[in-house]
């Protein structure tokens, strides 16, 4: 850290980095700016960057016309629901694999990962038919189950890598103190793993929120989350850019904020612990 860097060099790198970052960030920024314009200004050339009549009208229209809140609620339900149920079965599993590994633990972990590599199209047709026959199409319960299973391997893996960092002696101490396995999990392991569990939850919410293949194929209206909401703008409302922008901003804002908080943990989660 104590390397001497000439101020000139530092300035050049700073300008370069900021310029590239600006270009990469621009589509997001542009969407947010456009959402505050009138439709006329939105398609105006040359583009208006800051000096236009700022308006909130688009947000009101979007909510009114396409009921943003309903889709947003579905997104929240699906993300939280799938995360919650996945955690309930993943925490005990990760505990067992980290602290009471058997001969096949590594194989099971690898196998779980392999389910993640199944292309969804390989399962699309049967799942669609099963959902149709069981009346699960376009229901929250059905999609929650799918999203939970989809991300379960990542959740178990992340928890596993976090749990591995907790010294086993502490759990043994609680066992000596007379705690049953349930109490050991609840009073000792879970509180100690709070940061790890929180990161896992965060990552899973992000993944579930942005999941588009299954939500687009298995929902239409009642259980449709924001991915579907936005897809409905592909035409002809797509021509109304200001409204499209307002809708898009509302769809990505919550997750963008969460994502910024979670970026460090994200690396570990998305690489299954291969890069920390």
């Amino acid at each position: 850290m104590a390397r001497a860097v000439s101020p000139r060099r530092r300035m050049i790198f700073t300008v370069l980095a900021w310029s590239i970052a600006f270009v990469i960030f621009f589509p997001v920024l542009w969407t947010v700016l456009t959402s505050f314009k009138t439709e006329g200004e939105a398609i105006h050339l040359p583009p208006k960057f800051i000096f236009f009549d700022w308006t909130l009208e688009n947000y009101a229209v979007v909510q009114e016309r396409s009921n943003y809140l309903k889709f947003a609620m579905n997104s929240v339900f699906l993300a939280l629901g799938s995360t919650f149920f996945a955690l309930v079965i993943a925490i005990p599993a990760a505990w067992a694999m980290a602290f009471a590994p058997g001969k096949y633990t590594k194989d099971i972990l690898m196998w779980m990962l392999s389910t993640k590599m199944m292309p969804p199209v390989g399962a699309l047709i049967p799942l669609y038919l099963i959902f149709r026959d069981l009346g699960l199409l376009d229901t929250r319960g059905g999609i929650i189950a799918v999203l939970m299973l989809l991300n379960l391997p990542i959740i178990i893996w992340m928890l596993y890598t976090y749990f591995k960092e907790i010294p086993g002696e502490i759990l043994e101490a609680s066992r000596m103190d007379g705690a049953s396995v349930g109490k050991e999990l609840l009073y000792v392991l879970a509180p100690m793993a709070v940061p790890g569990i929180a990161s896992t939850v965060l990552l899973n919410i992000i993944l579930a929120w942005n999941e588009a293949f299954w939500t687009l194929s298995l929902t239409t209206k009642d259980a449709a989350p924001l991915t579907q909401f936005i897809a409905s703008y592909s035409s002809p409302e797509g021509l109304f850019w200001a409204k499209l922008s307002a809708a898009s901003t509302m769809a990505i804002a919550p997750i963008l904020v969460l994502g910024w908080f979670a970026q460090k943990q994200l690396v570990r989660g998305l690489t299954f612990g291969a890069v920390k």
Binding site: P167, I170, E172, A173, M176, D177, G178, K183, Y187
Partner: protein, 333 residues
């Protein structure tokens, strides 16, 4: 009460045999130290007694009751871990109280016991701190506090002092011995440090590659080691072990003489040699002597010994302090 009996206790991890078979009787109120080099199975033996590992074969009895298949929480033992294993998210108070809470004891009773333990261990003013806010010695006390509140039949210590600096270690050693006297409870203490074993133990169990080499009081082990291994392990500086011609003179494969049992005389001793270097401790001096065929020897001399490296010396062994061992390393008496 708190007697612990091991009967033909075996432990293997897969093909690796850690403990081929151990028998041991520990009486009520005894302070027993398991000592041996790292990897000798002493910690495994302790964890078997605690119930944190399964027995491969054999039986363990506590107060005459077979506990071989009893889970750790039901064995009535407390353990102090090498890393202390304090619950990092709980205050000192809750760390100490956790076991009592798990046992479902009423709140006011828990509070009273925690306060008493804290007073004994000088922890009263730290009760609301988290473990990370404590020094190493304080953490150690919390770990002990957590063990004593449950009033167990026996205490298990797994190298509890190895993470402390030298000065603190001496203090804690005294405190643990004091605690043993006050509580009168059975304690099993694992260490690789023979000084700790000698100073603390009522009885020492010396382990080597999973085998109990010898069990006895510190002085018994010092005066009458049963094997070359025990002879070399107990005592500081180490006993001088000699083979070849020097040993043959005493009709043994190996002979051992402690540094303090050799006298320096001008000539005509058992071994003639040259001083290589001297260490002056004030009270004593230790000489490292090249004893020719006898190998390199350590000799204790008085604090004001004036010899210099290069000086010729002759070493005379105290005749009744020569330990003789046969080809298999067992003592010949």
């Amino acid at each position: 009460m708190g007697t612990i009996t091991l009967r033909n206790v075996r432990k293997a991890f897969g093909d690796a045999i850690i403990i081929p078979g151990a028998d041991l009787e520990i009486g009520h109120g005894e302070f027993v130290v398991f000592v041996g080099p790292s990897g000798c199975g002493k910690s495994t033996l302790l964890r078997l007694i605690a119930g944190l590992e399964d027995l491969t074969a054999g039986e363990i009895f506590i107060d005459g009751q077979n506990v071989s298949d009893v889970p750790p929480s039901k064995r009535g033992l407390s353990m102090v871990f090498q890393s202390y294993a304090l619950y990092p998210h709980m205050s000192v108070r809750n760390n100490i109280a956790f076991g009592l809470k798990m046992a479902g004891m009423p709140k006011d009773e828990i509070e009273a016991k925690v306060m008493k333990a804290a007073a004994t261990l000088n922890l009263t003013e730290y009760l609301d701190r988290k473990p990370r806010q404590l020094s190493g010695g304080q953490r150690q006390r919390v770990a002990i506090g957590r063990a004593i509140v449950r009033q167990p039949k026996g205490f298990l210590f797994d190298e509890p002092l190895s993470n402390l600096d030298a000065a603190l270690r001496v203090n804690m050693r005294v405190e643990i011995m004091q605690l043993h006297q006050d509580l009168g409870a059975t304690m099993i203490y694992v260490t690789h440090d023979q000084v700790e074993a000698m100073t603390m133990a009522d009885r020492i169990v010396v382990l080597n590659r999973g085998v109990i080499e010898q069990v006895g009081s510190p002085l018994e082990l010092y005066h009458r080691p049963d094997s070359v291994f025990v002879a070399g392990f107990i005592g500081s500086p180490r006993m001088n072990l000699m083979t070849g011609v020097v040993a043959a003179k005493h009709k043994a494969q190996t002979i051992g003489v402690r540094p303090e049992h050799m006298a320096i005389i001008p000539s005509g001793g058992d071994v003639d040699g040259t001083i290589l270097l001297t260490e002056h401790l004030g009270s004593d001096s230790f000489l490292h002597v090249d004893g020719g065929e006898a190998g390199r020897l350590t000799v204790r001399a008085s604090g004001d010994f004036a010899g210099k490296p290069g000086d010729k010396v002759s070493l005379k062994f105290e005749p009744d302090r020569i330990h003789k061992f046969d080809g298999s390393g067992r003592a010949v008496r």
